[in-house]
């Protein structure tokens, strides 16, 4: 484990999206370690595993079987152990309801999955380079949804 690498975990049930996600980080050439899980259940198992080094940023898909993103978010936020993890919602939907709900539940940013690989790369690069402490202090509903 390299401690100077940014640890990133993606919870997404969609194989294609996981592929785009990892490809994008590969191409970004930023010092990151990307780990993916297939659903919410798996995510929580992973996070709760004592051997797991908690990620810096967690990308969370909302529409997942077994345990969806919202439920995962609630779970994570209810546990003080995970309070330092930056949570980025990563969803196809950008419905007001979802944005609202996740904001209220304490997610740090909301990313609408782009339909262009270049856009994806730009977004991810952007996310990694945000000074999270700074971003979170000035967070509001408008800055919550990341616009590209």
């Amino acid at each position: 484990m390299q401690h100077d690498s940014i640890l990133i975990t993606l919870a997404d049930d969609d194989e294609d999206d996981r592929l785009f996600f990892t490809d994008a980080f590969d191409e970004l050439k930023i010092n990151t370690i990307v780990n993916t899980v297939n659903n919410g259940k798996e995510l929580l198992n992973y996070l709760n595993d004592p051997d797991t080094i908690l990620p810096n940023i967690l990308f969370l898909d909302l529409n997942m079987p077994i345990l969806n993103g919202i439920e995962c978010l609630k779970e994570i936020k209810s546990n003080d152990k995970f309070k330092d993890i930056v949570i980025a919602i990563y969803s196809t939907s950008s419905s007001d309801q979802d944005v609202e709900d996740t904001f209220v539940l304490g997610a740090n940013i909301y990313i609408k999955k782009p339909s262009n690989f270049d856009s994806l790369k730009k977004i991810l690069a952007n996310i990694i380079t945000i000074n999270w402490q700074y971003h979170t202090s000035g967070l509001n509903k408008d800055t919550f949804l990341l616009r590209v």
């Binding site: 969609d14 294609d16 999206d17 785009f20 490809d23 529409n63 969803s91 196809t92 939907s93 950008s94 419905s95 999955k113 782009p114 339909s115 262009n116 690989f117 270049d118 994806l120």
Partner: protein, 738 residues
């Protein structure tokens, strides 16, 4: 009073006539008495004259005797002349006596016998006188015998004379007794008659004094009543007139002149002068009136108008009656009344009455229509008197319970019998509260009708104080069973609808997420191929890939627009104060790149602040602006003008609304390619496009969303345009959106 006066004057006349007759009678009586007295005096004189003449006669006879004797003795002829003279005197005395006793047959007879005696004596003397001339008488026997005879004859004459005197005395005595009687009665009769006359005169005097007093009182009364009548004339605006039919002379009272609007007695009261005042239309009426007065000596109520010198028209009424006074003068006495005010009042009353009749008719119509309305609307009304708790039902209120109208007497107790047992308690409570608070809010309950059906009723009532001050509660009860059933249906429908909405939301979810996801992946893969594999592809492959990319982009736009449209359609109406100036500036910054690219100029005025949904308003402006930018002429830089004015609905014919509702009229006009006016409605339809996809991008959703948003804000949107002349989109938003 008039009658009394007439009576008393007749009375006076009778007394006067009687007095006159009595005086006449007294005069006649007195004249007769005086005549009688003078007759008696004449008779007395006559008796004295006769007596005197008889004495004269006797003395003449005696004288003649003496003289004859002296002749005989002296034979002196002188005595014979005297004797002859005496005989003449005797004869004249006889003729006097004869004349005096012309009327007294008894005395005449006595006188004749005396005359015969005297004559026979003188004849005797004359026969014997010649014998004695030359004889010694003293020795002559014959002579002595003649003398003796002569003396005898003289004594007889004396007796006869005394008889006559006695006769006269008897006559006189008789006459005197008659005279005395008359003398005695005359003063008594005269006095008594005078006394009666005196009494009559006193009576008449008293009566006259009384009458005068009465007359004076009457006169005072008359003066007073004259004064009052003139006051009354002024007060009640009437004037009087007199028409002396015999002299054909008119007299007007002062107030009649006032009524005519001129100073009293300012013109001579004649028919002609009066006619000058008469209203031209009424001249005939007044003409007939005058004719009637002279012809019939009477005037029934006549109405006509006059025009005063100041031009005011007054309504007058005249009435007259013939008055014949004691003397028989015929006068038509009349009253002319100014009835303008009365007339106006009457007119007012008439019009009020007509109004009342009209109102009454309306009320009747209203009553009938309300009866019909009760039947049609399935409601009945009732009135509850607070004081007597007397309840009155309208006909239909009975029908609602399944009864014929007025089939039973409505009372608080028996209405409770109809109420559904489960609702009795609630109704009782509400009713008691209503009596206490004197108001009843809407109350719903069930009743069981005569035929056992359960019906839902709703009652509202209100306190009412009628004109007579009676407190009552007027209520309306409606059979709302159908409504109730309908509302039940509606509730079911609502539940159904909510289910549909939920399904729609789920569909939206699917559309927004599940449909987008594969598309997104397709697009991402396309971008991956474009990035990594493009150079390995044939030209045809590149071409195909490019077409796939365009198609998938279009699909994305379609899905996005569709989502937006459904969002505009379904979003809840949370109105908040929205400053349209701020909204516009946000839209402009959103479109800034586009505006810059097209080198567009956008002019706008100050916009109002409305009650709206901010993000929808922004979408509205953005859609309209991007629409204008999109359909700009290829070679002309777009100029977009945004204007806003406040208008009133009735002044905008396009709104088809006659109310005074205020709207903001906001227009967005451009100098673009425009469209044909006939398409102005079509362009707002979903997925409707006037142009080919390749010419102008778009899904045909933008304007449909605009229309939806404006409708959500209770507004209207219209488009006007001509090809190549630009288009104007105008939307109206109520000033007060609720």
């Amino acid at each position: 009073m008039k009658y009394n006066r007439q009576k008393s004057s007749v009375y006076h006349k009778i007394i006067f006539t009687i007095s006159l007759f009595i005086l006449l009678f007294i005069s006649v009586l007195t004249v007769k008495h005086i005549n009688n007295i003078s007759n008696s005096t004449k008779l007395l004189m006559h008796t004295y004259e006769v007596n005197l003449e008889l004495e004269h006669l006797y003395s003449y006879i005696k004288d003649s005797d003496n003289n004859f004797r002296s002749y005989i003795i002296s034979k002196d002829n002188f005595y014979l002349v005297l004797y002859q003279n005496d005989i003449k005197n005797v004869n004249s005395s006889f003729s006097i006596l004869k004349e005096l006793n012309r009327k007294d047959l008894g005395q005449q007879r006595n006188l004749e016998s005396l005359y015969k005696m005297v004559n026979s004596r003188y004849d005797y003397i004359a026969n014997n006188s010649n014998l004695n001339k030359n004889v010694d008488l003293t020795r002559n026997y014959d002579f002595k015998k003649v003398l003796k005879e002569s003396g005898k004859r003289l004594a007889e004459i004396r007796i006869q004379l005394n008889d006559m005197v006695h006769n006269e005395k008897t006559n006189l005595k008789l006459q005197n007794s008659v005279y005395d009687r008359q003398i005695y009665l005359t003063p008594i009769i005269t006095l008594s008659i005078l006394f009666i006359t005196f009494l009559l005169l006193i009576f008449t005097y008293i009566q006259t004094t009384n009458d005068i007093e009465k007359l004076q009182t009457t006169n005072v009364k008359l003066n007073k009543s004259h004064f009052l009548s003139s006051q009354a004339e002024i007060l009640s605006e009437f004037g009087t007139w007199e028409w002396d039919l015999i002299d054909d002379k008119l007299t007007y009272s002062n107030n009649l002149y006032h009524i005519l609007g001129v100073a009293p007695q300012s013109f001579e009261a004649t028919k002609e002068n009066f006619m000058k005042f008469v209203h031209p239309e009424d001249v005939e009426i007044v003409d007939t009136m005058f004719k009637k007065i002279t012809k019939d000596e009477d005037l029934p109520h006549t109405y006509f108008r006059i025009i005063r010198p100041n031009g005011k028209i007054r309504n007058l009424r005249s009435v007259g009656k013939l008055f014949t006074d004691n003397v028989g003068n015929k006068t038509v006495l009349g009253v002319t009344n100014d009835i303008t005010d009365e007339h106006n009042k009457n007119e007012l009353l008439k019009s009020n009455y007509e109004d009342l009749i009209a109102i009454n008719n309306q009320l009747k119509i209203f009553e009938e229509s309300s009866k019909q309305a009760e039947i049609l609307g399935k409601y009945g009304s009732w009135i509850l008197n607070y004081d007597t708790l007397h309840l009155t039902y309208s006909d239909n209120r009975y029908r609602l319970l399944g009864y014929e109208p007025q089939a039973f007497e409505a009372s608080i107790d028996n209405i409770f019998n109809f109420i559904h047992p489960d609702d009795k308690k609630a109704v009782d409570k509400a009713f008691k509260k209503a009596l206490e608070t004197k108001r009843m809010l809407s109350m719903s309950y069930r009743v069981i009708t005569k035929d056992g059906r359960i019906r839902n009723f709703r009652t509202i009532a209100k306190s009412y104080i009628d004109l007579s001050g009676t407190h009552s509660m007027i209520g309306t009860t409606r059979d709302v069973t159908e409504d109730y059933n309908k509302s039940l249906q509606l509730k079911e429908r609502n539940i159904e609808l909510e289910k549909h909405v939920k399904e729609l939301n789920e569909f939206n979810q699917v559309a927004s997420h599940d449909l987008q996801e594969p598309l997104r992946k397709i697009q991402t893969f396309i971008s991956r191929i474009n990035d990594k594999e493009k150079e390995n592809m044939s030209d045809a492959g590149k071409e195909y890939l490019s077409r796939i990319e365009i198609a998938s982009d279009r699909m994305r736009v379609l899905i996005d627009d569709l989502l937006q449209y459904s969002k505009a359609n379904r979003s809840e109406k949370k109105l908040e104060t929205t400053d349209l100036n701020q909204i516009l500036s946000e839209s402009l910054s959103e479109l800034s790149q586009n505006i810059e690219d097209k080198k567009a100029t956008i002019n706008y005025t100050t916009l109002p602040t409305i009650n709206g949904i901010p993000f929808q308003m922004q979408q509205l402006f953005s859609n309209l602006l991007s629409n204008s930018l999109k359909y700009a002429k290829a070679d002309v830089a777009p100029i977009i003008n945004i204007n806003c004015v406040e208008i009133v609905a009735k002044n905008e014919s396009i709104l088809n609304d006659n109310s005074s509702k205020k709207y903001y009229k906001i227009s967005v006009s451009d100098n673009g390619i425009g469209f044909e006016q006939k398409h102005s409605k079509q362009i707002f339809l979903l997925f409707n496009r006037l142009h080919g996809k390749s010419e102008y991008q778009g899904t045909g959703v933008g304007l449909a969303i605009c229309e939806k948003i404006v409708e959500k804000h209770s507004g209207f949107i219209f488009a006007t345009s001509n090809p190549n002349e630009g288009a104007t989109f105008t939307f109206y938003l109520p000033v007060n959106i609720t």
